[in-house]
């Protein structure tokens, strides 16, 4: 569950959802924290996320508890409890599971988005979801202003399974790439695992045993069914029934067929025929695959053994899977095959020991491994990589495997739970639009070949975080003096800015210019740093140095302005 003490969730403006596995805590945020912002997610993410939540709520509500214990959460008692309870953190923040009403309310607050859609957030930044290749509708996110770009890469896959391939090109030129959701099993090869899954399944069924596959109702199960579709006939297993038991089994199978636009090219083109993109439609049509909302009702009538059962929950702690563990656990003919990587299979099995049934662990995690990460980083070349701390060192169990960590230059910045990390860049530029009238009035001058400058004095309007430069207002016409003016009315607005000056004044030419403009009696003295030009008659002194000019005169505005203009002739304005 999200840790929420660190931030006040009512101040969060936007939540970006990467995939349906990453939204299971959403109702806790949208319903109970005062959060009023916007949640963005793709349509498949929302629809399948709803199914996952619905299944979870259904499983939990099937076994209502008359009372719930909470005294054990007292720290003094908790530390006396056996592991893993005594190691659990923040138990006081544990909450009951949400209800379907809360799920519906949470999901109704989500704004649907499509891949590569540019979504303006308050005019300040733009966010864009990109295909991440991991699951139906799974996304990586780009958060960018006109001059800065942060990529959030979470749960991505470079393997070809059913979802649309990962969009890598759009991640290029990132200032910061936040990388998370890598594979949980970096040493396992998903393809090999699928092969092992099929062969173990076949072996068990041929010997007259049953196969139990604890799984989520969506995701890898589509790929497993597709493999079985190709495999069962060649393995002579076409008469073995496949059962998919979940309160959302039917919906999951149906939904998978309507999101063609979010699928890989091969599946997409099937729709043009028109044919359903996944072959499990055919498995259902030919009665090889049957789905049931639960083990009660129709299933008990149709149930035939040996068979293959796909059901949840993969933690083996609740859901219909519990029933099958108890039913089949005592026979060594049967096999349970773990494919979901989220739970340790040993811990999952612990309460069922001793167990006669065979246990096969072939976790299928298609998310990026470290080899793919280094390839990806070479490809997209972010300036900085930010990732969870555990990815910057080898896994504790395999501390010698230096290849099982992120290796990049400069080294990845890491973050820990409940830690705030400042990203290493600063916003320095904004886009400003210049009104044509103002643009017309600008006078560029070429300072160096190819580089021109123009001084701009303009009024900056900022609205909805968009900036617009307009011509400065004309100086107000002097009011016809009906009212007696107060002195303070004439005080000039010091906000009228004058340009900076640059250049230097060649004394000889300056003196010539003075003479040309009617000054006589000019005397020039050399000083350590430059010259002093004396206009004796006017009691005026002009100090000229490399980087400065100082005009010292009597209070004669006319004279001062004349001298000023002559000096400015030699200088450039900025």
């Amino acid at each position: 569950m999200c840790k929420t003490e660190l931030i006040d969730l009512s101040t969060v403006d936007v939540i970006l959802i990467s995939n349906y596995h990453c939204m299971m805590a959403l109702p806790y945020i949208t319903e109970h924290t005062g959060f009023t912002g916007t949640v963005y997610a793709t349509e498949p993410t929302v629809q399948i996320g709803r199914l996952l939540m619905e299944e979870l709520v259904n499983f939990i509500e099937r076994v209502p508890k008359a009372q719930s214990a909470s005294l054990w959460k007292n720290k003094d008692i908790q530390r006396l409890l056996p592991s893993p309870l005594k190691d659990a953190v923040e138990v006081s923040t544990w909450r009951r599971c949400y209800t379907m009403q809360e799920v519906n309310s949470a999901l109704s607050k989500i704004q649907l988005v499509g891949y590569s859609q540019k979504i303006e957030l308050f005019g300040a930044v733009q966010v864009t979801p990109l295909s991440s290749g991991y699951a139906l509708g799974s996304s990586n996110w780009i958060i960018q202003s006109h001059y800065e770009k942060v990529s959030y890469v979470s749960g991505s896959s470079l393997l070809t399974t059913h979802p649309q391939p990962m969009d890598q090109a759009s991640l290029k030129n990132s200032d910061v790439l936040v990388l998370t959701g890598l594979t949980q099993i970096p040493t396992a090869n998903p393809d090999g695992m699928v092969g092992e899954f099929c062969s173990n399944l076949a072996l068990t069924v041929r010997n007259g045993g049953n196969v139990l596959v604890p799984c989520y109702p969506s995701g890898v199960i589509y790929d497993l069914l597709e493999c079985l579709y190709q495999y069962i006939d060649s393995a002579g297993l076409s008469s073995v029934p496949l059962y998919f038991i979940s309160p959302v089994a039917n919906s999951s199978l149906e939904f998978s067929q309507i999101f063609a636009e979010w699928l890989c090219h091969n599946k997409q083109s099937k729709v043009y025929l028109p044919e359903p993109p996944f072959p499990h439609a055919e498995l259902i049509q030919t009665n090889k695959l049957k789905h049931y909302p639960s083990i009660h009702g129709d299933f008990s009538n149709d149930f035939r053994q040996p068979c293959v059962v796909f059901t949840g929950h993969p933690s083996l702690r609740f859901g219909d899977v519990v029933h099958f563990m108890e039913l089949w656990g005592k026979s060594s003919l049967n096999t349970v095959i773990f494919t979901e990587p989220d739970f340790s299979y040993l811990e999952a099995l612990a309460p069922y020991q001793p167990l006669a049934m065979k246990c096969i662990y072939c976790p299928i995690d298609t998310r990026l491994n470290f080899i793919q990460v280094s390839k990806l980083l070479k490809e997209v070349q972010p300036l900085h990589v930010v990732c969870p701390e555990q990815y910057t060192q080898p896994p504790p169990a395999q501390s010698h495997r230096m290849d099982l960590m992120i290796d990049c230059q400069p080294p990845a910045m890491s973050y820990r739970r409940a830690e705030v990390l400042a990203l290493p860049f600063k916003r320095r530029y904004e886009k400003i639009e210049i009104m044509p009238e103002l643009a017309d009035s600008l006078v560029p001058m070429e300072i160096k070949p190819g580089i021109s400058l123009a001084t701009v004095s303009a009024v900056l309007h900022t609205k909805d975080n968009k900036h617009l430069l307009q011509p400065p207002p004309r100086p107000a016409q002097p009011t016809s003096g009906k009212k007696r003016k107060r002195v303070s009315d004439d005080v000039p607005d010091c906000k009228v800015l004058k340009p900076l000056l640059s250049g230097s004044i060649p004394v000889e030419q300056f003196v010539q210019t003075l003479e040309k403009h009617g000054f006589s009696d000019i005397k020039v003295e050399d000083t350590a740093k430059g010259h002093i030009v004396l206009l004796q008659e006017a009691e005026t002194l002009i100090q000229i140095e490399e980087d400065s000019t100082h005009i010292i005169c009597d209070n004669d505005e006319m004279l001062r302005v004349r001298l000023r203009d002559l000096v400015l002739k030699f200088l450039q304005k900025f």
């Binding site: 590569s116 004095s457 005080v491 607005d493 005009i551």
Partner: protein
């Protein structure tokens, strides 16, 4: 100055062969590539010579966009891409990409195989043409090139219909294609965000109608069908295979079930079953209700509606037949029409618009003696009904869309001249928008507010307050890269030193007091006048106003006179010169 130019190559003030050329900030985009089904000659296709006179299509056009799969919007596409020759990208939504080639092939068969037309595109051309198509998702921002981007919005109308926003820099155009603003039995309503385009190009097929409520029209339709079959008549409903057909099928299916009717309903085969498949696979494009219930019940699997066989047309007794195509211009619907037209018990219901020149249009305009091929005259005795089921926006809907998108100006196309004039006035009155409208190959030009360019603002120039404020800086222009930075920054970046220009003026005052006191008097005088400025009296006896320094000195020769030295930089000139003239007037007499 960039501008937006719109050239209708097909539908200007006319329904059929929609094809519009838009030039926006140097980019040329062709919107739709439709054909006119009322013509059998060259007038059938849009006039591409307007473009080709200046060279090849591919060189001139940056992209082509197809809004939906109706032939009056995509029918000329293979002709355009394969026969005239265009190799650039063609954008359309996934459902359009799936369905469009089927309809094209269907039409090609009627035109070539039945009518024996020569010089028509081939099946292979349709395939080659479709290879050039790039599918887009709703709301996806497609970067056609570095500058040109397009984005699709949901348009209702038919499965996969989309409105498109075309954007180059800060200029944008929205093209609606055909759309409807009220959800129907299987599609949702069109929607667009407040994208404030410079120009909105909207269809105006039903420009004058404000249609009565949907429910009334449905009841009307059911009543007419029911009465006819009750008295033993046959009902012919010419439809296009996809779109209206599905909606009417859902309507009749539920009615038949409710009334427990046994009269057979047929649907001409081929396309239809396939069509229903498409609807099922593209459920996300249908309306909310179907999307919510599709898992439990597929709305597109019909119990009462069976496949039609040509022989059924001669069966005695009542029946209802949906037959393609929709405007009675060819194919099965026309065949059945010819068989049934002579019997006054029968009825034909035209559920959509018919373009001029088609049989559908002729009977709707009251013609009862039709000249058929071979000089045969067909007398129409059957009842002819028109039901406006076609999902176009009516006047109210068009106004609604204009309200949603908030365009600077609106261009009406794809409608009839008189109706467009009516709507034009209405929009101008009610929404106060500038309005233009177009006939074929007229080129209305749209001057709009242009932004000369964009610059980046760097350090220190970023505004903190939301109020407009005066800003001074230097625009550095290097190649096409513009940056606005503070003047100090500009000097630094170019490796130039600042030249400081300073003025010091001597102001003579009559004051017998000591310099320190004079300075203090100056201080209190200025403090009282310059309320908005920072006036300070420093410990060394000098006075500052902002960055202007004032010092008092006593020239030795005259104890009755003090000299004030007022010193300021060029950047503070206004205030400096103001202060000297102020001090020249002297100080007010102290009260003590």
């Amino acid at each position: 100055m960039p501008e937006i130019r719109v050239t209708p190559l097909g539908a200007g003030q006319d329904v059929g062969r929609s094809c519009i050329l838009v030039s926006i900030a140097g980019k040329n985009v062709m919107l739709d590539c439709g054909m006119h089904m009322g013509f059998n000659d060259d007038r059938r296709f849009p006039d591409f010579s307007y473009i080709t006179q200046n060279g090849r299509l591919t060189d001139f056009l940056d992209c082509v966009i197809i809004s939906h799969f109706h032939l009056d919007h995509c029918g000329a596409l293979p002709y355009f891409s394969e026969m005239v020759g265009y190799d650039g990208p063609i954008y359309m939504t996934h459902p359009t990409q799936a369905i469009c080639p089927i309809l094209l092939e269907d039409y090609r068969k009627i035109a070539v195989d039945k009518k024996g037309e020569a010089n028509f595109f081939t099946s292979q051309m349709i395939k080659d043409c479709m290879k050039k198509v790039v599918a887009v998702h709703l709301h996806q921002t497609v970067q056609v090139d570095d500058e040109l981007e397009i984005k699709a919005y949901y348009a209702g109308h038919v499965l996969g219909a989309a409105m498109f926003q075309i954007k180059v820099g800060s200029e944008s155009v929205v093209y609606t294609g055909d759309y409807n603003m009220t959800p129907d039995r299987h599609l949702g309503a069109a929607w667009i965000d407040k994208c404030r385009p410079n120009l909105l190009i909207t269809e105006s097929t039903y420009a004058t109608t404000i249609r009565d409520s949907k429910r009334c029209r449905e009841r009307d339709f059911l009543k007419k069908v029911h009465e006819t079959v009750e008295r033993g008549g046959k009902v012919l409903i010419p439809v296009f295979a996809l779109g209206r057909a599905q909606e009417l099928c859902i309507l009749l299916e539920t009615f038949w079930e409710r009334m427990n009717l046994k009269v057979p309903i047929y649907f001409s085969t081929g396309l239809t079953e396939k069509a229903n498949h498409y609807y099922k696979l593209f459920i996300p494009w249908t309306n909310q209700k179907i999307r919510k219930t599709f898992v439990q019940r597929n709305m597109f699997e019909f119990k009462h509606i069976k496949a039609f066989d040509r022989a059924f047309a001669d069966n005695p007794g009542p029946m209802v037949v949906f037959a393609t195509p929709g405007m009675l211009h060819a194919g099965q619907s026309l065949q059945i029409f010819r068989k049934w037209a002579g019997n006054e018990k029968n009825m034909v219901i035209m559920p959509g618009y018919c373009v001029q020149g088609t049989v559908g249009h002729k009977i709707l305009s009251g013609q009862r003696k039709l000249e058929m091929e071979g000089r045969q005259v067909l007398e129409v005795k059957m009842q002819v009904e028109y039901m406006s089921f076609s999902a176009h926006a009516d006047a109210k809907g068009i106004m609604q869309l204009v309200g949603q998108a908030e365009p600077e100006s609106v261009l009406l196309v794809h409608g009839e001249a008189k109706k467009m004039e009516f709507l034009k006035q209405k929009i101008e009155q009610e929404l106060r928008r500038q309005l233009a409208w177009a006939a074929c190959t007229e080129t209305p030009q749209h001057p709009c507010r242009h932004l000369a360019g964009a610059a980046e603002a760097g350090d220190g120039l970023l505004p903190e307050a939301k109020k407009p404020r005066l800003l001074h800086g230097t625009l550095i222009m290097k190649d096409s890269n513009f940056r606005l930075v503070s003047s100090e920054q500009a000097l630094k970046e170019l490796g130039l030193a600042e030249h400081q220009l300073r003025f010091t003026c001597r102001v003579h005052l009559h004051d017998t007091r000591k310099e320190q006191e004079t300075a203090l008097r100056v201080y209190s005088h200025l403090k009282s006048i310059l309320k908005d400025h920072c006036v300070q009296h420093l410990p060394d006896g000098s006075v500052t106003v902002e960055s202007i320094l004032i010092q008092a000195a006593a020239p030795s020769e005259d104890p009755g006179t003090k000299v004030l030295l007022v010193s300021w930089t060029y950047q503070d000139e206004e205030l400096g010169s103001f202060l000297t003239s102020l001090l020249k007037k002297g100080l007010p007499q102290a009260l003590s």
